[in-house]
Homo-oligomer: 191 residues x 2
């Protein structure tokens, strides 16, 4: 063995995460991480083959944090839970959230299509959504995912009215869910 480890892999990822959140993912550089840790770049290259490997680890970290946020939401209503978790991520890690959405193409594309069936299944258990066809449920879900992305994006960009707090955001999300569902019911009544 050699001398004691002073800079761990975890610490390096943490530091990269901090830079990502304050300056954006693309602003991460090896030297910046090193300076923030009070080290040289050597420990980074001991722990990561190159900058790409470090970025991968950072993405994993980000995903794990977002999953943690989702676990912490537990109303049982999947709409509310996913919406609120996304909202929290957008508010608490706004810079990273924006970067992620932009670079999401590959991550989220497959992700959504995998989540879809599970969510539809959840919706079918909800008594309030009783009697809708799968097509109708899909439309409701899509509308809500669109709204939720828009809301998170606005929150992350500080584009909502000044006085809006997290509760207001959750309320408008929930209110719009009601709008969409109620209107779907009315349309159903017209069949």
């Amino acid at each position: 063995m050699g001398p004691k480890v002073k800079f761990t892999r975890e610490q390096i990822i943490d530091t990269a995460f901090e830079i990502a959140q304050t300056e954006g993912i693309d602003s991460i550089t090896m030297r910046k991480i090193a300076e923030k840790m009070g080290s040289s770049v050597a420990p980074i290259y001991v722990n990561f083959k190159n900058v790409d490997e470090l970025n991968e680890a950072l993405i994993e970290r980000i995903i794990s944090i977002s999953q943690q946020l989702l676990k912490e939401e537990n109303t049982g209503n999947p709409f509310r839970d996913i919406g609120n978790a996304s909202l929290r991520f957008a508010i608490e890690y706004s810079v990273i959230f924006k970067d992620l959405v932009i670079k999401s193409g590959r991550y989220m594309q497959g992700y959504d299509e995998k989540m879809m069936p599970a969510l539809i299944e959840e919706m079918q258990k909800d008594p309030e959504l009783n009697g809708f066809t799968v097509e109708e449920l899909k439309t409701i879900l899509l509308k809500m995912r669109i709204f939720q992305l828009g809301l998170s994006m606005m929150a992350a960009n500080g584009l909502l009215p000044k006085e809006y707090n997290k509760q207001d955001m959750m309320d408008i999300l929930s209110s719009t869910a009601d709008d969409v569902i109620m209107s779907a019911k009315l349309r159903r009544g017209l069949r």
Copy 2:
């Protein structure tokens, strides 16, 4: 006078715009623009003091294009017009749209608060929106702006269902507007 001008200011901005649309705004470099034009960097520095000035000119160009798109929409319904123009921009210039939204903080923040009153005024002329208070109109408008941003963002990221075309997007935008307005009417009836 000197020799004929071979590379104009406009041509430089055009080239920067092309790079922005294919690789992202941050991928623009002086040398890349020059190479794409078949010149050296000299003509760029004759027309622009530095890279910041070029970026300003590029932003102006982008804003002017988006305003052009808005002018081309003319249903008279401001919801539809703004929504469709935003959607077209997001689809036709997706990379730039994403960059803009992310870096929008400063541009859009004031912009929205200036647009708000004019839009509310427009809404008050709409017979379908008759009888709502200003507060109710504001909520409807906010919901629609949120949905429209989410939809544009999804379109720009290719996150919508594969078979979705522009008409489908315009339809779901319009359908959600109906949902929000219809539900507001129902709530109004309950007062």
